[in-house]
Symmetry: C2
Subunit: 341 residues, 2 copies
Amino acid sequence: MTDALSPAPTLAFNELVELLQQIFVRHGVAASVARCLAENCATAEQDGAHSHGVFRIPGYLSTLASGWVDGQASPRVEDVAAGFVRVDAAGGFAQPALAAARELLVAKAREAGIAILAIRNSHHFAALWPDVEPFARQGLVALSVVNSMTCVVPHGARQPLFGTNPIAFAAPCAGGDPVVFDMATSAMAHGDVQIAAREGRPVPPGTGVDRHGEPTTDPKAILDGGALLPFGEHKGSALSMMVELLSAALTGGHFSFEFDWSQHPGARTPWTGQLLIVIDPDKGSGQSFAVRCRELVERMQGVGLTRLSGDRRYRNRAHAQVSGIAIASEELAQLRALALA
Amino acid sequence: MTDALSPAPTLAFNELVELLQQIFVRHGVAASVARCLAENCATAEQDGAHSHGVFRIPGYLSTLASGWVDGQASPRVEDVAAGFVRVDAAGGFAQPALAAARELLVAKAREAGIAILAIRNSHHFAALWPDVEPFARQGLVALSVVNSMTCVVPHGARQPLFGTNPIAFAAPCAGGDPVVFDMATSAMAHGDVQIAAREGRPVPPGTGVDRHGEPTTDPKAILDGGALLPFGEHKGSALSMMVELLSAALTGGHFSFEFDWSQHPGARTPWTGQLLIVIDPDKGSGQSFAVRCRELVERMQGVGLTRLSGDRRYRNRAHAQVSGIAIASEELAQLRALALA
């Protein structure tokens, strides 16, 4: 958030996209892929999700420099069945793989009523809601899961195995923005732990354990040989297991514990898989799903909910569209240097 | 659990099914529907889920006596699209609606790769895993959600709105039983709160609030004008909202807060909707999903997990298949009386 008195410079959304695209291209990424990643990253920054915004750029670049991910990869889309599309991301990022399959996926969802997209051999290093929200803006319901890298101790286990394994959901809502949530199945998203560590803030009890498996509220202890815990004990843990199965076993991707990036120093992006399910919600009955969604939202407000899933992002976005996206001067200077590097 | 020294009588699974079917038929349920409900209820009892076993029979019967549910309803199955089946349960139970659509749903999932079943105008008063586990035994992945009746306060709200809104998932696993979980998105299942109240046991902190909205560990205070809380704070709450949207808005069923059973004293079964998604997991890649699932399970055991989702149910089931299902003498006498009533 910024205002006229803030010392932070502001960029329009498109300016930030252009800058980030230049950075990616400058570091070996194909122009179309760079655009895709830049839009994704700028969306997160604009929506106020700093842990998935420009904060991620150094991680992207160190991964590209390591050779672990292929910034030039061309995803191969396969039309498998009336409701099934699969994509081999060819060792590249998941977002261009989704972009390549998107039109076919939507056409199948509208025709068959539901369709699934199974992306494998892919790297996902971003927020998940930008992957699902656009479907809801087309009147479709979308669900996505993606696994990551071993950093979460399954409930009842002694050592980490799962990734932070988020679940994102988007649904159209009449007369307003879609209802969207994006939740790590870990007690906290990995990026938020990194930001807490950077800022020297403790994390809430139940977030994670240190390298000895002991509970800690020190984010550095979690990151330095420790691990996260699932949210909601055995229930969050079961959901995390489901995410592993859907994102990896079903797509043909890797489980969070299966890849070895030790030969690629600097690599930070997990080499896994991603699943999307897209539904045409108006095939279910004679009624309008979006109108029914609005009825639910109004009742939720009626029982005292002042903030719904996604509301904060939409407020930040609206603010950014008027006032621009604030980036700290030092961070902006670093980004500009990277675009020329 | 029982053994040769136990005073509790035991019934074979089929004996219990026969007895329960007789009870349902005796109380106005069509024979095929009665069979369906009896098998469901006996499965829960056999699997050790007492809160969803014969414990539910009085609730079923008082609901039938109230006229709130139609035990004779014939579900109407509609083939909507290549991946979409919908069923109007016609005011009857959800389980016969699923049974009526099952074959078509499986055929579509195999052909299209994924298929959805939207059941509306239905009553679900049972555990959810018996609805999904059979798909996994056929090599398919299944996910189901069902909403119930207002008894859960959304995270951040002041009054209850959502139901206990469970999510169930089943996946085939090579060389063993399917991986199955069935979780209320409330901190505790409603039936378990009822059992705790009956047995005079407190429930864990965070389970619910009393009629004044104050946190309580007294199950009677939760049931008597109080309410449950979601599991996992805002994340469980978001999942519960998703269950409302998928089970009701998408199917054409009622939200948990939408029905008025005040004119039907004794009614206990929520009149809502249910959604199932069934996936052919081997269309995603060249690999066997079930083999990959086994690999994940073995790694979970390798990091110290001694009990996976569903394990306790499978152990209880195996025991019951050898030693029979133990029912307390008094409860069995009541059941036998109901079969003749």
